[in-house]
Every structure is written in C-alpha cells, then in structure tokens.
C-alpha cells in the first residue's frame, strides 16, 4: 500500500534520515519504534508531505507522493496525526473535526463522518462546543485522531499518540487505535512506548540515528536483543 525506498531527508545541513526503506501493506498495523531523536517524526513528515526528502521514493498505491503537492496527499488517503497533536486550540472540537474533513471529496460525507467519530469517541460529542485547547491531553489526542479520521483515510499515521498521557489514558488510546484498525483503516504508528505498541501492531521497524536497524513481527521483536540494544545502548 505504502512503500518508502531509500528515503533521505533532513533540515538544512542536518540529515535526519539515511536511506530508509519501509513498507506498509493494506490492513496492517505497523509500528516504528526507536529512541528520541531517531528520526521517527521526520519519517512521518516525509510521508505526509510536510517536508520533502532529498532522495528516495515514496509511493502510495501506485501514486508517486513526491510528485504530489503536499496539500493533495490527504486526497490520496493518508491522514497524519502530528506529534503533540497540534489541534487548533482556540477553535471548538467540532470546528477542529470540520477542518479534518476539509477536502471537497469529504464534505458531502461530513454528517456520516461526524457520527462515525462521535461514536468512536462519545466524549467528543459531549465536548463538541468546547475549545479544543481547554481539554485534557487525552481528550485532545482523541480529538486529533478524530480530526484525521474525518477525511476517511485509508492509511492513518500516528506520531507518538501516547506522549504526555497518563498510563490509564494511554491504554485507552491504544485500545481505540485497535478499534480503528479493526474498522479497516491501515495504521502506521511511531512510538517510544515500545512494549505497549508492540502489543497492538503486526510488524515493527526499529529506527535509530536515522536508519532502520531491525524489522520483524511484533511478537518476535518484543523480547529480542535488538530492542534492548537500541534503547539501552548496550
């Protein structure tokens, strides 16, 4: 479904990704794990077009993403839940969701999408008139995921959805991600919270210092030495 081949990217003279290749198949949940500063967020940004890679190729269902203007990548079916959520803090929950369904193609379906998101996150329906910035971290994360789902994406990119959340809330968020995935949405999730994320994904890649160090089924990786090495540096 999504295929990255030897992608290089960075900011100015700083290179964050070195020849990263990665594949996500339809219906899968794939994790990318790695320590802080490994290039995980850069990877997500490269896929959703927020930054342009300096080399390599990114193809989504035979569409060359690098030949697509960034604002049209959502149309192809990729929705990105950015790091630290990035809601519009002084707009209501409803307006935030509305922005998620900005695409002309998504607008006729808006009513259904609202119902879908509110069903998934009943709390958001209660809070729909509240300013997004005034909600708790967990609520904001749900709103951010809900916003991404408004465009009816085929592939959902999640960047550190558990960051800054209380453990109970993290469990809730991961449970919801599983439900979304069960609903037919392919998921690519970037996380530092290794043990938990490996429980909800099928496969995972280990990213360290900008390159893929290991890849495999989640169950295999869970106890492997590579993970320990990548994290503890032993």
């Amino acid at each position: 479904m999504l295929e990255l081949t030897r992608v290089r990217a960075g900011y100015g003279s700083f290179q964050a990704l070195f020849d990263v290749s990665l594949e996500v198949r339809r219906g899968e949940a794939v994790g990318v794990i790695g320590p802080n500063g490994a290039g995980k967020t850069t990877l997500m940004r490269v896929i959703s077009g927020l930054i342009r890679p300096t080399a390599g190729s990114i193809v989504m269902e035979r569409v060359d993403l690098l030949a697509t203007p960034p604002h049209r990548i959502v149309e192809i079916g990729i929705a990105h839940v950015p790091e630290s959520r990035r809601l519009f803090p002084r707009m209501t929950v409803e307006d935030n969701l509305k922005m998620g369904g900005f695409l002309p193609a998504a607008r006729p379906k808006a009513r259904r999408r609202f119902d879908f998101v509110y069903e998934l996150f009943p709390l958001l329906r209660e809070r729909r008139r509240q300013l997004a910035g005034s909600m708790s971290g967990g609520e904001q994360q749900m709103c951010a995921i809900g916003r991404a789902l408004m465009s009816e994406p085929k592939l959902l990119l999640l960047d550190e959805p558990s960051a800054g959340l209380a453990p109970v809330v993290v469990d809730l968020v991961f449970a919801l991600v599983q439900r979304i995935r069960a609903g037919g949405v392919t998921v690519l999730i970037v996380e530092q919270n290794v043990q938990q994320v490996l429980r909800i994904v099928d496969r995972a890649y280990v990213l360290k210092a900008g390159s893929i160090r290991a890849a495999g089924a989640a169950a295999e990786l869970r106890d492997s030495a590579i993970i320990r090495e990548a994290y503890l540096g032993v």
């Binding site: 927020l50 960034p70 519009f88 002084r90 900005f102």
Partner: protein
C-alpha cells in the same frame, strides 16, 4: 434635559454610528494580518480608491447606488488580490520590515496614481441624505445607513467564517500555519481568498465613507492611523478585540470632536491609546504567541 446634554447624547450616538464603520475597517486589516501575518500599510489607500470608484460610478456614470456599491466592493476585492499576488506573495519569506515597507511603497504609488488620474480636488457624491430629528438631536441618515450596512457586512463575514469550510480554514490558519497541508488545505489559495475578503471589506467601507466624507487622494491618511491604533489596541488578528476597540475610539473621537475639532478627537484617541498601554498592556498583547 439641558441643551448641553442633548449635544453630548448626540455625540455619543454619532460615536456608536462611527464605531460601526471603524469596526468594519479594522476587521479587514485584522483578517489579513491574522491569516497572512502581513500588515497592509496601504489599507486606507484601497479605501480611497473604492471611494473614487463610488464617485465615478454614481456621479459620472449615474449607476444606481446599490449596483455602484456592488461593483466598488468587487473592484477593491480584486485590488486586494492583486496586492497580495504582486507584492506580498514574493515577500512572504522576507523580513517583516520589508513586507511592511513594500505595502508602504504601494501607499505612495496609489496616492500618486490617484493624484494623476483624478486630480487633487475634493469630490463628493453630491447626494444629500436627510437628517433625522429625534428629541432635539440631529442624526445624519448617512451615518445610520453606514452603521447598518457595516453591521450587516460584519455579520456576513462572521457567518462566512463560522459556517463555511473556507471560513473555518481562515480561522484555523491563523492558529497553526504549518499543519494546514495535513488538512488538505492549500495555504496559498486561502491567502488569496483572504486578500479578496480584506479588499472587499475595504470596498464596503469605501461605499459607506463616501456618503459622509469627500474623497481626495490623501483621504487615506485620515482613516489609516486610527485603524492601525484600533487593531493594535484590540490585538492584531483578534477580531473581537478590534470590534470593541473600534467603538471605544469612535466615542473618544466623537465626544472629543464635540468640544474641539475632529482632529483633536484623533489626538485624544491617541493619548488614550498611550494611556491604555500603561494600564492594560495585556489587552494589547492578547493572542500574541
């Protein structure tokens, strides 16, 4: 009721009526600043051109008022788009001072273009709208009309910003520029739409101001400074703050002008502004991130 109080009340009412038009002026400037992060120094000159458009359409070509107003709004809206595409867009990555100065250069350009095309004579529509006499007060019909139209204009903009997808995107882009592409929004398109809207508001303001004031190439210098003060006091990009500040300033100008000349009203407004900076600086700084 003594005669003094009647005059004061009249000035207060006129202040409210003026406030409507000033609020409209500041809304256009605020919208452009909030979305594009650029201040149109030449904003009042766009209004001046709109006033000329009204003058020619109505006085010279005898177009019906409503049609003239519609053409005027569209024309200034197009000018707003031109300003953005020709001057602002190439400078979006440049230092803010250069953006300010470029629109300042446009100010010079428009003033002198108007001088060349229309001459420096004062011109007016030549329509005398009746004056209402209520309880010993004289309220000009032109001002009432301007107030009403300004309110309607602002309500329409409000509804546009609240109800439509494009309007929502305009509000959103002011809060987080970078992630707009993730929503599938082409920021450049939103900038152009906002410029058209900002220009259109200047056009509407022009239609209303030309009912009360003569137009000449330098008329922008009368409205410009006060509009900037309102926007700064309300917080640049803060629509609500601008709205409130517009009425406060209008009252000061109107009541101050009652005792002295209109220019003194402006001076008082400025003194008030300086005082407010000491008293409530947080009001000025609201929403600046």
């Amino acid at each position: 009721m003594g005669i003094f109080d009647v005059y004061l009340l009249e000035a207060l009412i006129n202040g409210v009526l003026l406030g409507g038009v000033l609020a409209l002026l500041s809304l256009g400037l605020n919208l452009v600043f909030g979305v594009i992060d650029v201040v149109w120094i030449c904003y009042a000159e766009l209004i001046m051109l709109g006033m000329y458009a009204m003058y020619f359409l109505s006085r010279v070509y005898h177009a019906p008022m409503v049609l003239a107003a519609a053409i005027c709004i569209v024309t200034v809206g197009v000018l707003g788009v031109l300003l953005h595409v020709v001057v602002i867009a190439p400078l979006l990555g440049a230092a803010p001072i250069n953006q300010l100065l470029a629109t300042g250069g446009v100010l010079f350009f428009l003033q002198s273009a108007a001088t060349i095309l229309f001459g420096i004579e004062f011109k007016n529509l030549g329509v005398r709208l009746p004056v209402l006499k209520v309880a010993g007060m004289f309220i000009s019909y032109a001002r009432l009309l301007a107030f009403g139209a300004a309110l309607i204009g602002m309500v329409l903009v409000y509804l546009f910003l609240r109800r439509t997808y494009t309007g929502t995107a305009i509000r959103a882009i002011a809060q987080d520029r970078q992630i707009m592409t993730l929503m599938g929004v082409d920021s450049r398109r939103i900038y152009v739409i906002t410029s058209a809207l900002g220009g259109g508001l200047a056009g509407l303001a022009a239609c209303l101001l030309v009912l009360q004031y003569d137009v000449h190439p330098f008329v922008g210098l009368t409205f410009g400074p006060i509009t900037f003060l309102i926007c700064v006091l309300g917080g640049l990009g803060n629509f609500g703050g601008g709205f409130v500040a517009a009425f406060v300033f209008a009252e000061i100008i109107s009541v101050g002008g009652l005792y002295l000349d209109l220019e003194w009203g402006y001076v008082f407004a400025f003194a008030f502004f300086i005082a407010m900076m000491f008293v409530r600086p947080q009001g000025l700084l609201a929403r600046r991130s």
